[in-house]
Amino acid sequence: MSEILKGRAWVFGDDVDTDLIYHNKYLAETDPKNMPQYAFEYYPGKEHFAKEVKPGDFVVAGKNFGCGSSREHAVYCLKYAGIPVVLAETCSRIYYRNAINNGYPVLFVKGISDAIKQGKINDGDQLEVELSTGTIKDVTSGHEFHGDAVSDLENDIMQAGGLMEYLKAQAAAKK
């Protein structure tokens, strides 16, 4: 079955670093559920994100999303805010690993960096995202985008719910 997710877009640029997603000021936090309140607090023009984000909204970004620190807080703060998937042209390897390891989908979307710059996808646009096919429709602007599929191993880890869950399932299967 191919479920279609519907929600609003929150649009960001290229090279969004982890301090902009989740500032180092709050690194001592250890409970993932407390992290969404700090999301994008330092991103100019998006300071209101944490207050106004609704479960089901999407984060849309350009190239190299999540560059910088290894902090997994930058994944948790979006996951626990109810963002079902990050749609980015590319994301940095460190963010990609952290997302996969938490069973959190990141879709690599060709051309979305330019589309953001050209105003083809904007804050508040209504999106429809089909994860199984990678199809993204911007209902507001009428533009359509396509995300790449992840490799088999990454998909297996995602399906298991994350790396710890994957390893536990592997160990149980061996017994």
Partner: protein
């Protein structure tokens, strides 16, 4: 076609032939965590595996307290305590507490790291250990906690980019300037998912401190792992610390002459000038000369990128050449990367001169890499720093930071405005 160093290292760790693009499970030689992220790893491991679960091998795990050492808040103190208690319960002996310094540097000095070792850590600048040929990369707490289950983790075998460097630096110019040039040239995502080998005569003749600088900021181009196979003095130093096995590893794991690279880039440093990463991104690069005269409020010399003895000595030489005093308009802070470096500075008589110059010389720690340690900048302040990131608001909302070499930073501290160190050194 021959193999790159990365392919050889991953074949060793995976115990089977690999090729670029493969997903493989590798044996981990060191799975480490800091005071930041460490408590998250411990809590996650115990939640998922149970409070009585044992880690796979306590002798392959290390904790380093560096981001906030000594702790600045009750919350961080609690996190550090969670780690100490977990280590005690699990029989993990390598806990480098608040009196040691920056984790990767401490582990290097302790002789823990060999070429080809697979090293994970909750510090995105783990990859500076590539400066001695290790496969070291920064990861999140899930990667660390998961690796404690059975001592393995998953990797994609990356393409390798080769960077060949030739020429000799002019006076007042150093490896940090080359690195800044590369970051500006390739951009923040210029190495995303890639491994990179640094080679060429400039690298062959460089110090360990320089190799650490170069490798540390591969992260700022989203690179996965940098590799410089040890040779010359660096190899000698490493053999003294980590034992004779180091030489076998270098022989076994160095790239074949006909290895396949996804890209080869050449740089000649002969005409390179001092450079700065201007606000608010590491890849916003301009010559120091071009931004000279900009007033600054604070100068910071240190960090995992430029906190070695050689870095501090280079700054010291600029200070002395400039008259031995820093400008009273500027707050100047020097932070050595480790206690060993701090001691070497003391023995060389430098700390006395720094204090007389009006400089704050601190204990070894990461210091001004966050807004949550000493030296955080208030809104509107301009900083100069040898750290590796100047993202928007990183060390204080509304502040702006120029990143530069220790020589440029000290020249700026002496004059009170951004200054090309060649104006002092002649």
């Amino acid at each position: 076609m021959g193999k790159t160093a990365i392919v050889k290292i991953m074949e060793r760790a995976a115990g089977k032939p690999v090729k670029v693009g493969d997903r493989v499970w590798c044996k981990i030689d060191w799975s480490t965590a800091r005071d930041f992220g460490g408590a998250n790893c411990v809590l996650q491991f115990e939640k998922e595996m149970g409070a009585d679960a044992k880690v796979w091998d306590p002798d392959k795990i290390a904790f380093t307290f560096d981001l906030q050492a000594p702790s600045h808040s009750e919350k961080v103190s609690t996190n550090q305590k969670i780690i100490r208690e977990f280590a005690k319960k699990q029989g993990i002996k390598r806990v480098f507490d608040i009196n040691n310094g920056i984790g990767q540097h401490v582990m290097l000095e302790a002789g823990m790291i060999k070429p080809g070792d697979v090293v994970l850590g909750t510090d995105s600048h783990m990859n500076l250990l590539g400066g001695v040929g290790a496969f070291a990369t920064g990861v999140g707490n899930s990667d660390i906690a998961a690796s404690w289950i059975n001592g393995t983790n998953w990797f994609r075998v990356p393409e390798t980019m080769k960077i060949e460097v030739t020429g000799k630096f002019q006076k007042g110019v150093c490896m940090r300037d080359l690195l800044t040039h590369i970051v500006g040239d390739l951009g923040a995502g210029g190495m995303d998912f890639l491994a990179v080998e640094f080679t060429g005569e400039t690298i062959d003749n460089s110090t360990l401190a320089d190799r650490i600088t170069l490798c540390s900021m591969v992260t700022e181009m989203s690179g996965k792992v940098p590799i410089i196979m040890p040779n010359g003095e660096v190899l000698k130093w490493l053999v003294e610390r980590a034992g004779p096995e180091v030489e076998n590893r270098v022989k076994e794991l160095s790239a074949d002459p006909d290895a396949e690279y996804c890209k080869v880039i050449k740089y000649d440093v002969t005409n390179l000038e001092p450079l700065a990463s201007c606000p608010d991104a590491p890849d916003n690069v301009k010559p120091v000369r071009e931004v000279a005269g900009t007033a600054v409020d604070q100068v910071h010399i240190g960090s995992c990128s430029n906190g070695r003895f050689e870095d501090i000595k280079a700054a010291y030489d600029v200070l002395i050449a400039g008259g031995g005093k820093v400008s009273p308009k500027v707050r100047t802070i020097i932070t050595p990367s480790t206690t060993e470096v701090q001691l070497a500075c003391a023995k060389a008589g430098m700390i006395e001169k720094f204090l007389e110059a009006g400089i704050v010389f601190t204990n070894p720690t990461c210091a001004l890499c966050t807004a949550e340690h000493y030296g955080a900048l208030p809104s509107g302040d301009v900083g100069c720093s040898t750290t590796n990131r100047n993202f928007i608001g990183k060390v204080g909302k509304g502040s702006h930071t120029y990143l530069m070499s220790p020589m440029s930073a000290m020249a700026t501290a002496v004059k009170g405005v951004i200054t090309d160190p060649r104006d002092i050194l002649g």
